[in-house]
Amino acid sequence: MQLAASLMLFSLACSSSEHPPCIDGFVPDGKGRCRHAGDRAGTDTSSPPISSTDSGNAPEPVLPQGDCVGSTAGGTAALQELGRTDTNEGPTPPTLLIEMLDSALDDDRFWAVGQGGLFSFDLSGPSPELDDHYPNTGGRYHRLLLLDGSEDHPPLVYATNRTQGLVVIDRSDPSALSRVHQISKQNFGGLTKRGDFVYIIEHDGDLTVMDIGDPVSPVEGATIYADGHPWNVVAGADALYTADNTHGVGVFSLDDPAAPIFERHVDIETGAQDVAVAGDHLYAAAGSAGLIVLAINEPNHPEEIARLELGTPIIDVTLDGNIAWLVDQESVWAVDVTDPYHPFVLGKADTPRFAMTVAAADHQAWVGDWTAVGGYALDTSISSPVLSAAPDTLYLAPGQEDVSVVLRNDGAVDAALSAWNASDSEATFTMDAMTIPGASSAAGMLHWPTSLSNGAVCIASDDPASPALEIQVLREHDEISIPLGTAAPDFVLTDIDGDTHRLSEQLGHPVLLVYFATW
């Protein structure tokens, strides 16, 4: 999954050659500021202009240097942590769940799959408590689907596994999970249910239909051949939609539910990592492009209506009433989608490890955070700024002293900045904005003399979640044994097509090396 995320870097390999006035995802608003590009409203008359390009008479306020202590005027944060359990902690972690890829909520219980199998956590106590896991011997699972029980069959979990296929697990006793059926197949990925059928997408694009007339013993039906590289599939009222890593959103029509027909890929100019559906709208987690909302009034012709770029790769989305919950690898976001044409951020909370999946109900979200499960409660009555630096770590080239610091406010209300400070008194930071309106960004200039090594800059604001926002400045990398700016050790390697590549022959071009493993 992390490599898949790295693949999205492709989209930046051909970045524009002229210096953009606004960072990615923002557009000039005509007043010298930058607004979210997806905000079709585009009008803000609530605050006075703050940019130096405005012809006001008053001198621009300059952010003063001072103690980096944020204001409490913003109140409490919209997202509060509920509880957390890490399967990798404790004296003898017997049941480690790692790289959680998918999750679901049901009856005060959080279900998640990843390396280690299927895990069930009881959420009724102060922190999630592990009930049971399947299988005991490990295994790498990709996606899961919860099926309610009935008079004829127990409640079930359908879990997909790239090498084992579809595994059907009886969950009537969450502390004693047991396999009741398995359909062996390669490459099974996301799955969704509609009526008497479950649809499973394969990583090479094909779709397999399972007849679940008897849910304990699903019967493999038609396979529909399609291309692409889908991660997940969801069922709308009249069509299936895939999140495709290379083609965006895929559409299968369902005129005959036993034999869907592949209709098209909808070009959203990026790949999608996850997709969720609610009513007439489809929500795609589109990596660095953020959250993309599509109207599906015409089920076979989804049409993009809004885009919320958040400066971080969004990899999972789930709907909870009028709230869309998102995760990137570092945080969980709550987005108000009451008006799907104008989604806006309500809150954001940092997650300690690598958040890859979120499940939510009743304004509470549970995040699969690599090996841990963490809960977050949303208070929709709180409207606060959501401040971040993009990027939040500044890498200085040898000899470089000046670097732009871009601050984003992804919240819906103004962020009031109060002071800056730095780890070293020789550093200076110039910023002529004291306020960053909601869904806007602003930039300042940091001067970091060559005599200074690594350090940090701090911005104090009224964002209750990060009142003292810290931005790391790196001239040398603590964790690697050579300073940044040292010549890269040369190598020659042959690729899997037999072509030879020598690093030192690439002078004149940036080279991104991604060292990875497939597992």
Partner: protein, 86 residues
């Protein structure tokens, strides 16, 4: 701009299948003996070596960036700064 995947801990057939499954179009360099991996681990990698590890080499052949978490905005900021210098 060059993007190279480098792998040493998988078999060639696993890498081929992985590439086909994900639709990867950049070269996947196969460090079969692990020699390059060992050298980079010694020189520029992380003591707590975990996958993935990303390095960005600037147009002058200097190591400009190293990370073992995925931080696209940091890489983007560096690339943009090089593209606008000309």
């Amino acid at each position: 701009m060059r993007v190279w995947g480098v792998a040493s801990m998988d078999s060639e057939s696993e890498l081929n299948r992985f590439r086909d499954t994900l639709g990867i179009t950049f070269p996947i360099l196969y460090d079969e003996t692990g020699e390059v991996h060992a050298q980079w681990l010694q020189d520029v990698a992380f003591p707590s070596a975990a996958f993935p590890q990303d390095w960005l080499i600037d147009p002058n052949g200097l190591v400009a960036y190293a990370n073992n978490t995925y931080e696209p905005d940091e890489i983007r900021a560096l690339l943009n700064s090089w593209l606008t210098e000309d």
